[in-house]
């Protein structure tokens, strides 16, 4: 007879009160046996990571655990679509991990929530992490109110992918560095390609280029200490005008990304010759374009309104952050330092294709010899942060709708941008009140 059956028989014969006491005692002993089994000094770190990075980092932490036998790292993988909500919910529910990957456009938001810890002292004492080991524009996205809240893990920006051969046929051996030259190159390519072809693909649902164009034209996107929208200001209107003109002259198709069945097929066919995109497409272009095409495409930094130096791009990527509520901040910081080592950054790059944040890693042959990465490295030296306000994601969605309306011709640009500014002002109302209340930029 099994233990449980025998126990049940015994319990049935006892009086109900004693039987109940016996069951409770057994339950308590069982639970005590389950938990607390971990021996003395072993620390368990909880680390959250998103998407492909979450899969890959599990391999990297094995080496960290080997170096630090008293630390165990539990990696929780979260899909990007749910990450923002899950992190916020964890903060509200006081169940944040010890450390996490955080998209660097979210760092300001979580710093405002006082969810993540400032790292200045740790960085000052560190031998691995230092400000000048990183791209200045990327480092800056992690600085909120003069304090550093994250260490860049991998970086991301937007550059121009283009068909070298089609550009050569139109008489250009490289992409011109200024907007006017770029525009002339686009017109030349369309003339050389013939009817039904376009120069560049700017999907109406991708709003990142429209942030880039505004930053390039010198617009801060928000004004008055990031408390009001600046989309109807002269700088942004100039940028919007330049790019709406591109659609107006049929240099780009006014369609969303989903309406082109296969981006790579159309690029190979020459339906369009230029595309603004990020590092993930380096691998995708190599995989999806036919072998004969591999020498025909190249990357270039984005042209700017007044020449190459004004051709700034977005400062994207992810940072590693420590949460204030963590009970093992020293161990978590060790993990951050481990992942910031150049050799770990290179391993990470080899596994994911995500560009390393540590500039030392870029000198390795794997990256130094890749022709197409040159443009990324140059561009990363010219990146600008988007406004560091918690409402930025909400504002960028509103921008997306405005861009769609302008490009598809639903409404004229001036009134659309004015309407966008009204929406943005309404979103930022609370921030204005807070800033006024505290009499300054300090939140």
């Amino acid at each position: 007879m099994s233990v449980t059956a025998r126990a049940a028989r015994i319990a049935a014969r006892l009086r109900p009160g004693a039987a109940l006491a016996g069951v409770l005692l057994a339950g308590v002993l069982l639970l005590a046996g389950c938990g607390g089994g971990r021996g003395g000094g072993r620390t368990t770190l909880r680390f959250w990571a998103m998407g492909r990075e979450g899969e890959v980092v599990q391999e990297l932490v094995r080496d960290f655990e080997r170096e630090n036998p008293d630390i165990e790292v539990v990696v929780q993988q979260i899909p990007w679509g749910a990450a923002h909500e899950k992190l916020l919910t964890a903060h509200v529910g006081r169940s944040t991990p010890d450390a996490a990957q955080l998209g660097n456009t979210w760092v300001a938001e979580f710093a405002a929530l006082r969810a993540i810890a400032p790292l200045d002292e740790r960085i000052a004492a560190s031998r691995v992490v230092a400000r000048d080991g990183h791209f200045p524009g990327i480092w800056d996205t992690n600085v909120v109110d003069g304090e550093v809240y994250g260490v860049p893990w991998y970086v991301d920006t937007r550059v121009l992918f283009y068909r070298r051969d089609l550009l050569a046929k139109a008489g250009y051996d490289s992409i011109p560095g200024d907007w006017d030259g770029w525009r002339r190159a686009m017109e030349a390519v369309v003339r050389a390609q013939g009817p039904g072809r376009f120069a560049i693909f700017l999907p109406t649902n991708e709003y990142t280029p429209w942030i880039v164009f505004g930053l390039q034209a010198g617009s801060g996107l928000l004004r008055d200490g990031d408390t009001r929208g600046d989309f109807s200001g002269p700088a942004y209107r100039r940028a919007a005008g330049f790019f709406l003109d591109i659609f107006g002259h049929d240099l780009a198709p006014a369609v969303p990304g989903s309406s082109i069945a296969n981006l790579y097929q159309e690029f190979e066919r020459g339906t369009f010759s230029m595309y603004i995109s990020g590092p993930w497409n380096l691998g995708e272009f190599r995989r999806r374009l036919s072998p004969g095409m591999q020498g025909a495409w190249a990357t270039a930094p984005l042209p700017g309104p007044r020449g190459p130096a004004s051709g700034v791009s977005t400062a994207g990527g992810s940072s590693l952050v420590l949460f204030r509520a963590s009970r093992h901040p020293e161990a978590a910081w060790k993990l951050v330092e481990f992942l910031s080592r150049p050799e770990q950054q290179l391993r990470f790059y080899a596994l994911t294709g995500d560009l390393p944040a540590a500039r030392a890693a870029w000198r390795d042959t794997a990256l130094a010899n890749d022709r197409n990465l040159r443009a990324f490295e140059t561009q990363l030296g010219r990146v600008v942060s988007t406004p560091k306000v918690p409402e930025w994601e909400n504002i960028s969605i509103k921008l997306q709708f405005a861009v769609e309306a302008m490009v598809l011709g639903h409404a004229p640009a001036d009134s659309t941008l004015a309407g966008l500014d009204r929406d943005v002002d309404r979103i930022l109302e609370k921030r204005r009140w807070l800033v006024a209340r505290e009499g300054g930029a300090r939140r």
Binding site: H84, L88, L113, P390, E391, E393, N394, K430, L434
Partner: protein
């Protein structure tokens, strides 16, 4: 005059009900009350870090909700779903219930299970399959339409047809649930009524109209109210299939509430939307019950 025995019975009754009432009070009424208070504040992401920053704003949230064109768009989409999808779903459930309960039906248990399976299938898996069915170039639905000579329809990409696509999928997924309720209702109609009607020379259609339908009246009220309440709260289907697009054609009130509350963390606003929806649903329920009473 109450006897001592009655008093004891009253106390005993309250004692037995007290645990359940406490649970309902703590886990249902208290949060609803808290939600109501929240809807009069501007609790948002700043207030999560520092609660003192939440301001009491009176009915400003409600005013903003009622003047927000996106809310009216969401309300229109929700009403579209309730008015078109609701009766369609109830009709499909009734037809399925009658087919399964027909005297000539073979393997009624098997078919009941088959019709009920969509209800218990994971929504995400169903959404993936239906997205393939709706694909403009390679979807089965457009292929079938092509056989009839109708050109391809971009079901989920065209703002005019997206909600219809969601309705079809939701009806397919949920009709099995109400079908079971109708089956129970049909079984409760006495067989003698049908025999008597047949003896009086009633045709099958007349038997349906004069015996089945009146006999199902209480079931209709129940299914009608429950379906309406569920349809007003439509969220998961648009969230998974179209994310509220294209051009906000499938954004429902609950989806809007989710965006305000959990994407932008404007909890006060989301609570206000919730209470507006509550008032609308209460009105719809009272209307249905009034109509049912008048029919009797």
């Amino acid at each position: 005059m109450k006897s001592a025995g009655e008093g004891r019975q009253h106390r005993a009754g309250w004692a037995f009900v007290a645990p359940a009432l406490t649970l309902i009070g703590v886990f249902f009424f208290l949060p609803v009350l808290a939600g109501l208070v929240l809807s009069f504040t501007d609790f948002d992401i700043y207030a999560i870090g520092r609660p003192d920053v939440a301001r009491f704003v009176g009915v400003r949230n409600y005013a903003q909700v009622l003047t927000n064109p996106l809310f009216w768009q969401a309300l229109f989409n929700t009403f579209y779903f309730v008015i078109v999808g609701g009766p369609l779903s109830v009709l499909a459930s009734l037809v399925a219930a009658m087919l399964v309960s027909a005297r000539l039906a073979r393997f009624p248990g098997l078919f009941r299970s088959i019709f009920f399976m969509p209800v218990v299938t994971t929504l995400v898996a169903v959404a993936i399959v239906w997205r393939y069915l709706y694909h403009p170039q390679y979807g089965l639905l457009n292929w079938a339409l092509g056989l009839a000579g109708i050109g391809p329809v971009d079901w989920l990409g065209n703002p005019h047809t997206a909600m219809l696509g969601i309705i079809l999928m939701a009806v397919w997924k949920n009709f099995g649930y109400n079908m079971l309720i109708f089956v129970a209702g049909l079984q409760s109609i006495p067989e003698e009524l049908y025999e008597a009607a047949a003896l009086d020379g009633a045709s099958p259609w007349q038997r349906f109209v004069h015996v089945t339908l009146p006999g199902l009246a209480p079931t209709f009220l129940f299914v009608g109210v429950m379906t309406m309440l569920g349809n007003f709260q439509l969220f998961s289907e648009p969230y998974v299939m179209t994310q509220g697009g294209p051009l906000r054609a499938t954004t429902t009130v609950v989806l809007l509430m989710y965006e305000e509350g959990f994407r932008w963390w404007r909890m006060g606003m989301a609570a206000a939307i919730a209470f507006v929806l509550f008032v609308i649903m209460l009105g719809g329920t009272l209307l249905q019950m009034r109509l049912a009473r008048e029919r009797r």
